[in-house]
């Protein structure tokens, strides 16, 4: 059963925003991280599922896969003004490829409760781990 979850870490990297996320599967972890990242930019409750995008990422390991996936979400925010409400990820067995189907909409400055314009995913404390059946990641975002 997928159980996406994240929590913000108020006492890490004061000028920026840090969160930890967990999931019972790598997919659940990636989806939780994507939700947390989006929540930093907008109150996701107000984002509607108007448009669907698919992203495909390849990387040398699962850490870099997560880094590139989250960076892609930031790029889509800047280039196409897109923010997403839902994420459905699929990660290959060797953990070097992922596809994610995402539903959301273009930024509406009147309707959306916008928050921070995330600059980048940092590698400070960054990493994916898998212990006792739980996938975890810590992410610090540059604000």
């Amino acid at each position: 059963m997928k159980r996406p979850a994240y929590r913000f870490l108020p006492n890490v990297a004061l000028a920026d925003v840090a969160f930890s996320a967990r999931g019972d599967t790598p997919e659940a972890l990636f989806e939780a991280c994507a939700a947390a990242l989006t929540e930093v930019m907008v109150d996701r409750r107000g984002v509607r599922r108007v448009t669907t995008r698919e992203v495909s990422v390849r990387a040398r390991d699962i850490d870099t896969l997560l880094y590139d996936f989250l960076t892609e979400l930031i790029v889509l925010k800047d280039v196409d003004s897109l923010l997403f409400k839902t994420f459905a990820a699929h990660i290959s067995h060797d953990q070097r490829r992922m596809e994610c189907t995402m539903s959301g909409e273009t930024i509406d400055r009147k309707r959306h409760r916008l928050r921070n314009d995330v600059k980048a995913v940092t590698m400070h404390l960054f990493g994916v781990s898998h212990e006792r059946g739980v996938w975890r990641a810590t992410v610090v975002l540059d604000i």
């Binding site: 913000f8 870490l9 108020p10 006492n11 890490v12 990297a13 004061l14 000028a15 920026d16 925003v17 930019m41 907008v42 040398r60 870099t64 880094y67 590139d68 960076t71 930031i74 790029v75 925010k77 800047d78 280039v79 003004s81 923010l83 930024i107 400055r109 409760r113 916008l114 928050r115 921070n116 314009d117 600059k119 980048a120 995913v121 940092t122 590698m123 400070h124 404390l125 960054f126 990493g127 610090v140 540059d142 604000i143």
Partner: protein, 485 residues
């Protein structure tokens, strides 16, 4: 924070942690702080400044300025210089917001003239300068002209109608750094940046109307050199950087360096310290791309200046020239540059990283605009939107002690998450208005995160740098109007 027991007090404002503190430290760490500021620094600063001291080719000291706080990789408020042959370049020592910096513009208006119009002026600026998440810039460029922006920075702006002929001279490096290489910039970075020329951003970025604070015009003679002649004189301060363009270049090369370090036999204590020899292909590629972002940031602040002049013209119905809206100066505070410094009895090129730190070159330096050369460069220290900012001047002591560097702002003491939990943006806006600061923000959450209580006391930071002699106070600048993302 418990100060490590090995810490030596060098002067009232300088502290040193010896290389014995941590395995691998190549040089001591030096912290600029009063005892109070030192004890208030978070644990991350000590860990990070000593981690930086372990990087290959670091020269003399790893520095943390008085505004230092926990960043990623380097502390924010960190300075480190590296040998160009034996040393490294590190994106984490620059920050993702490449050439984030401050620009200060003067006017000949006084507070009494602006006060009745401050709301109109702030509303006009908010309308003319896009702020916040996902906004597009007001300058439309294609890929070819965007590459010209990468190469020529403020010079491009002048040639395309966004500024005055003299503007570029009043910007650090004359408005563009040589060595930009657009071929080293990814398509993703260009596609993020091309739409953002002329945007302020969010977080701690702002555009602020300020006055020379009565009773705190510390050095009127020096101020006059910079065009500040009176208490209550109105100035405008801009704080922003290279937007998504620089952020993407930082992200792209962090990945490259993370993979390349093995090849060069480099290990670091924090992945965010990923680095490569400055002289390596990866190091040179990053430098060429970083300079593109630095020049874009200079251009971004320049086109915003153009809009600021327009806003004043519309509100006061006078030409910007008649309002004397000249640029006092523009400083980078997230950058690595090749600079010549005296070291061990010789003058050498060094790759100086300043992450949340400002250049503070002293009198006579050839890189200072001729108009200011005899007295030292203006140093612009941006504070929180509630507590104000400072104009200082660089010194000869900064050249000998800190590779010509000083602090950049006040430094956070409270995380964004904690600030948002504890402070109401709406209540803060009302309270600021009662205190004579009219602020217009893209979001209340963003406003709450930037409350003055989330920052160190800027006056203590500035006093520390002044006492240490690495930048000297000229004037305190009090906010009266502010727009932020």
């Amino acid at each position: 924070m418990p100060v490590p027991p090995q810490t030596k007090q060098i002067t009232d404002t300088v502290w040193e942690i010896p290389p014995t503190y941590k395995e691998g430290m190549k040089v001591p760490a030096r912290l600029y702080a009063t005892k109070k500021l030192l004890e208030g620094m978070d644990q991350g600063v000590i860990e990070q400044v000593t981690n930086v001291a372990s990087l290959p080719g670091i020269q003399r000291y790893s520095y943390a300025m008085a505004d230092a706080h926990w960043g990623y990789g380097f502390p924010i408020g960190g300075v480190a210089a590296f040998d160009p042959e034996q040393g490294v370049i590190s994106p984490g020592g620059i920050g993702f917001d490449i050439n984030c910096g401050m620009r200060l513009i003067r006017t000949n208006l006084r507070f009494a003239e602006v006060k009745p119009k401050v709301k109109e002026l702030v509303d006009m600026l908010f309308q003319l300068v896009p702020t916040g998440v996902g906004v597009k810039g007001f300058v439309k460029v294609n890929q070819s002209s965007f590459e010209d922006v990468m190469r020529w920075g403020v010079k491009w702006c002048g040639e395309n109608g966004y500024g005055w002929e003299e503007d570029a001279k009043m910007v650090e490096e004359g408005g563009f750094i040589k060595g930009a290489d657009p071929a080293k910039v990814s398509r993703q970075a260009s596609s993020r940046g091309i739409q953002q020329l002329g945007t302020l951003g969010s977080g701690n970025h702002y555009l602020e109307i300020q006055v020379v604070d009565p009773g705190r015009f510390f050095d009127p003679k020096m101020g006059k050199n910079f065009g500040l002649v009176d208490e209550d004189q109105v100035v405008v301060m801009i704080h922003c950087g290279s937007r998504g363009f620089g952020h993407q270049i930082g992200s792209d090369y962090l990945r490259v360096f993370d993979g390349a370090m093995k090849r060069y036999g480099i290990t670091v204590r924090d992945r965010e310290l990923a680095c490569a020899p400055f002289s390596s292909k990866e190091g040179q590629d990053y430098y060429g791309a970083m300079v593109c972002a630095a020049n874009m940031a200079f251009a971004n602040r320049q086109v915003i200046v153009h809009r600021v002049r327009e806003a004043f013209q519309k509100v006061f119905r006078r030409d910007p020239e008649a309002l004397d809206m000249h640029i006092i100066y523009d400083v980078c505070h997230n950058i690595a540059k090749v600079e010549r410094h005296a070291l061990d009895g010789a003058t050498r090129d060094l790759v100086v990283h300043r992450k949340g730190a400002t250049r503070s070159f002293g009198p006579g330096h050839p890189d200072i605009p001729s108009r200011y050369r005899q007295m030292g460069q203006p140093v612009i220290i941006g504070g929180s939107m509630e507590t104000g900012s400072y104009l200082l001047v660089g010194t000869a002591k900064a050249m000998t002690d800190t590779f010509g560097s000083t602090a950049h702002g006040s430094g956070r003491t409270m995380s964004r998450t904690a600030a948002r939990r504890e402070i109401s943006g709406e209540a803060l806006q009302k309270s600021m208005e009662k205190r004579g600061i009219y602020v217009k923000a893209a979001t209340y959450d963003g406003l709450a995160e930037e409350a003055g209580v989330a920052y160190k006391d800027i006056s203590e930071v500035v006093e520390t740098m002044h006492s240490a002699g690495i930048s000297l106070k000229v004037a305190a600048l009090r906010p009266i109007g502010n727009i932020k993302g």
